[in-house]
């Protein structure tokens, strides 16, 4: 019986994979949209990191759907389309998913303010890492105003993104239970 059970378990489609794939696709679309926001003259050269907000939220609340390559794929899409540094954002997004593995429990026990503060630190680290690698490889420091504006805007947009994603997630959950 045990042998038959294993055989049929293998034949079943694991429902986790389509959702994991969907998360990667949504993240990639968000990073493309992020770049498209640059067409808006107010956000020229310093668009908010929407893909980071998404990745952070998913890694916090739905960690079982975050694969190893999720951060890598989302970051790489952004790098390929809008960056001079292929792999820069991919590297730091992998680090973010890794860091979330051991910060998750503590954050979930705290309130929203803790999550926001920690996200702000993460956003600053993501941009500073890119700045550091960029400066080291180009031996030049870019203009810092757009960098600071990008960090600030990402921090400011986090609560809005968080509420939108939480609402969508709750709605989907309700639809599934109907």
């Amino acid at each position: 019986m045990i042998g038959r059970g294993r055989f049929f378990q293998r034949a079943e489609l694991d429902p986790k994979w389509p959702i994991c794939f969907l998360i990667i696709v949504i993240g990639m679309i968000l990073s493309i949209f992020e770049g498209s926001l640059g067409l808006w003259s107010a956000l020229y050269g310093s668009t908010p990191l929407l893909s980071l907000i998404f990745l952070y939220w998913v890694a916090l609340h739905h960690e079982k759907y975050v694969l190893l390559i999720t951060g890598f794929m989302i970051g790489l899409t952004s790098d390929l389309l809008f960056s001079d540094l292929i792999g820069g954002r991919a590297t730091i997004y992998i680090a973010v998913t890794f860091a979330m593995d051991w910060r998750r429990q503590k954050l979930l026990q705290g309130d929203f303010r803790d999550i926001w503060i920690e996200f702000s630190v993460v956003a600053a680290i993501v941009v500073c890492f890119q700045l550091l690698v960029f400066s080291a490889l180009n031996l030049a420091l870019p203009s810092l105003t757009p960098v600071l504006f990008q960090i600030g805007l990402t921090m400011a947009l986090f609560p809005i993104g968080y509420v939108i994603m939480a609402t969508m997630s709750n709605t989907l959950q309700r639809l599934r239970t109907l």
Binding site: D84, I86, G87, Q130
Partner: protein, 304 residues
């Protein structure tokens, strides 16, 4: 903790490490400028660019709407400004016609041949710089339309940048504001040469000006044509600030509002990055005892 859980954690850590190593390798390979990686990147861009274009549509719509509202609000002031500009342009046109005729006569006397054989190809900007670390845009024309790396990109106002990567249907343009863009220029009124460099911000810096040069705020800066990649005489910007040795330039083109650009095809064969050898694309200047690197003619026609 069970042994299987420990093994899973170990596997995840190894996976993370491998991915970080892969990303770091990509960074260095990208910086090493391997042609295979460039081709792969442009191939992927050709594939993703239509999606980018589709996702940009709502943003572009909102931007157009905002601009429309602004225009309506300032319609009267705009009309007065345009009338004044029109009167000034008419005066300039008359002056340009006189100068063109004079120029033609002088060329025929000197036997000079116009070196510029470029054809302008209009292309739509699909993206805009999204981050602070690269000022590049994707434009919807590629090698299928005859575009090659090194082709200058301009608008009616002046220089935007030059094509650095070419795919079949899309090309990547390095803007003059990018940290890697260095444009050989001259000061329009005194012909002193220099080089503009971007810093991924809204302004450019003017460097390598000779000590004798006296840059003035408001002075026009044009491409010099040195190096043969860019045509001479294309406006790059105007001097915005002079502070000791630091000269800041405001680009002639509003790089934040790029919808359509002209790519100047032909004239040069573009830059073959696969076969770039030292000395093939530029000739070192003769080492004279004079400390000046370049020679120029000032607005009065005197050689300096």
């Amino acid at each position: 903790m069970r042994a299987s859980d420990k093994a899973k954690i170990r596997q995840r850590r190894i996976g993370h490490t491998l991915l970080v190593v892969a990303s770091f390798s990509l960074m260095f390979l990208g910086k090493a400028d391997f042609s295979a990686l460039r081709s792969a990147r442009m191939g992927l861009n050709d594939f993703i660019a239509p999606v980018v274009d589709l996702l940009s549509a709502p943003v572009r719509g909102v931007e157009t709407m905002v601009q429309g509202i602004r225009t309506v609000a300032s319609l009267r002031a705009e009309n007065v400004r345009l009338q004044a500009e029109n009167a000034m342009l008419k005066r300039w046109r008359r002056r340009a016609e006189i100068l063109e005729s004079e120029n033609r006569q002088l060329r025929s006397v000197a036997g000079a041949v116009s070196p510029d054989r470029r054809v302008a190809l209009t292309a739509r900007a699909v993206t805009a710089p999204g981050g602070a670390f690269a000022h590049t845009v994707l434009v919807a024309n590629g090698s299928d339309q005859g575009i090659a790396a090194g082709n200058p990109v301009v608008t009616a106002d002046g220089l935007v940048g030059l094509v650095v990567d070419v795919g079949a249907a899309y090309s990547r343009v390095l803007m003059i504001s990018d940290i890697n863009a260095q444009i050989p220029v001259i000061l329009a009124s005194s012909s002193w040469p220099g080089v503009t460099t971007g810093n991924n911000g809204p302004f450019l810096a003017l460097r390598y000006l000779p000590e004798e040069a006296m840059p003035r705020v408001g002075e026009l800066v044009l491409t010099s044509g040195h190096g043969g990649v860019l045509p001479a005489g294309v406006p790059v910007g105007r001097i915005d600030l002079v502070q000791d040795d630091y000269v800041r330039i405001k680009p002639a083109v509003d790089l934040r509002n790029l919808s359509y650009v002209s790519i100047l095809v032909g004239g040069t064969d573009g830059i073959d990055t696969n076969n770039l050898e030292l000395g093939e694309y530029y000739t070192p200047l003769p080492q004279d005892d004079d400390s000046r690197l370049f020679e120029g003619v000032n607005a009065l026609g005197e050689r300096q």
